[in-house]
């Protein structure tokens, strides 16, 4: 139980903005996470590796784009709400402007067969990219047989039958958590640890209170 904010370096907002703007403007071809790690951990040393992985974990578990989510978490860790907004805007703005300009060109040239041919090639390559990322993640994360009981229906129901994600998640998330629910032993250990921690905390508070009481009786 570490008090993380105490270790956070005081980063100027302008600096925070420019670092995320730079990542957002240079991370071509996906894999933004690697760029984030390189800049935040290796170059700026705003976070250590563990803390970065922790932020990544939250960014992946909570809905939203992982890179923007990590920007929000790191920004808020460094400079609170203002930092979160600054980092998220810096991260997103360059790519949004870039793709917006491409979009303007697209509306103008979409009927040009050469443009269509280039985009067909780009689209096919993009499918290859997200397919590879999906297979890589699957290979890393899918360990138990019951994972397939969740994965296959999620794919079929959403991909083939176009059922809305709202009911799909409402049904699948509780089942998936149930499959992975902690063992009674794990929970018992955790609760024992928590109880011990709270007992220590209470003891500490008593000590402090006692010291204060002693201090007010005999003012020096």
């Amino acid at each position: 139980m570490s008090d993380v904010p105490a270790q956070a370096p005081k980063v100027p907002l302008a600096k925070l903005f420019w670092v995320f703007f730079y990542i957002g403007a240079t991370s071509f071809g996906g894999g933004v996470i690697a760029y984030l790690r390189e800049h935040l951990v290796s170059r700026q040393k705003w976070l250590d590796e563990d803390h970065f992985l922790g932020s990544l974990e939250i960014g992946q578990t909570v809905p939203g784009l992982v890179s923007t989510n990590v920007a929000v978490i790191v920004g808020s860790h460094l400079r609170g709400v203002t930092g979160a907004v600054t980092a998220a805007v810096g991260m997103t703005l360059p790519g949004a402007v870039f793709v917006f300009i491409l979009g303007l060109l697209y509306t103008r040239f979409k009927d040009n067969p050469e443009v269509g041919a280039v985009l067909s090639g780009v689209g096919a390559a993009a499918v290859g990219l997200i397919l590879a990322v999906t297979l890589q993640m699957g290979g890393r994360e899918i360990r138990k047989w019951h994972d397939w009981i969740i994965l296959v229906p999620a794919f079929v129901v959403v991909g083939i039958f176009h059922i809305s994600l709202v009911p799909v998640l409402a049904v699948l998330v509780p089942i998936a958590i149930q499959f992975n629910r902690p063992q009674a032993k794990e929970l018992a250990t955790y609760h024992a640890q928590q109880a011990e921690y709270h007992a220590q905390l209470a003891e500490h508070h008593e000590e402090v209170a006692a010291r204060h009481a002693a201090g007010s009786e005999s003012p020096s």
Binding site: I23, S55, S76, M91, G128, L129, T134, I142, L151, I177
Partner: protein, 184 residues
């Protein structure tokens, strides 16, 4: 005006459903944009998705082009805000309480449980785009052979060879398309 309201509704909801990243909501996005609201056809949706892969930063910034296509500059700005604000607010809140549950076995259970859902949804996203971009029966056989080859080469390169930067792979796909797909 009505279009702006629909755009915001669609993308704000997608924002909160994007479990494990943007790919997960591609099927529903395509279904809403192409099917329910008929703002564009599947071909255009895939083109715009491809444009997004040419840009740096988060890989779903192309939603702004959908907004522009439907309702001009206001659409572009509103869609961007609708797609980012809800999930950013949520992750900000969760970030505050996450450390509080450190070491909790339930936190691990949630994380482990989300993994197969995320991957299943990502696979459905690949399928949604692949059905137009890689295998597309409205194109010629030769066109299909070339797009399938591009997809497979890119996948195998990333999984097995890992020499080429992903941005270069995307651009190379575009170059191959320009050479080989113009006349078919």
């Amino acid at each position: 005006m009505n279009k702006l309201v629909s755009l915001v509704n669609v993308f704000a909801l997608l924002s909160l459903l994007a479990v494990g990243g943007g790919t997960a909501v591609l099927p529903q996005m395509k279904h809403e944009v192409v099917g329910t609201h008929q703002w564009m056809n599947a071909e255009q949706f895939t083109d715009i998705y491809s444009l997004g892969q040419l840009a740096p930063g988060p890989n779903m910034n192309m939603v702004t082009v959908i907004g522009y296509h439907v309702a001009g500059i206001p659409g572009a700005i509103l869609v961007l805000l609708a797609f980012y604000l809800p999930s950013c607010t949520l992750v900000f809140a969760v970030g505050k309480v996450w450390d509080h549950f450190e070491g909790s076995p339930w936190r691990d259970a949630v994380q482990r449980g989300m993994a197969p859902i995320t991957i299943g949804l990502m696979a459905s996203g690949v399928y949604a785009i692949g059905r137009t971009a890689t295998i597309n029966f409205s194109h010629s056989m030769r066109h299909n052979l070339i797009t399938v080859a591009i997809t497979m080469i890119v996948t195998l390169e990333i999984l097995l060879v890992r020499r080429v930067n992903m941005a270069v792979l995307i651009l190379a796909g575009g170059a191959v398309g320009w050479f080989a797909l113009r006349m078919v």
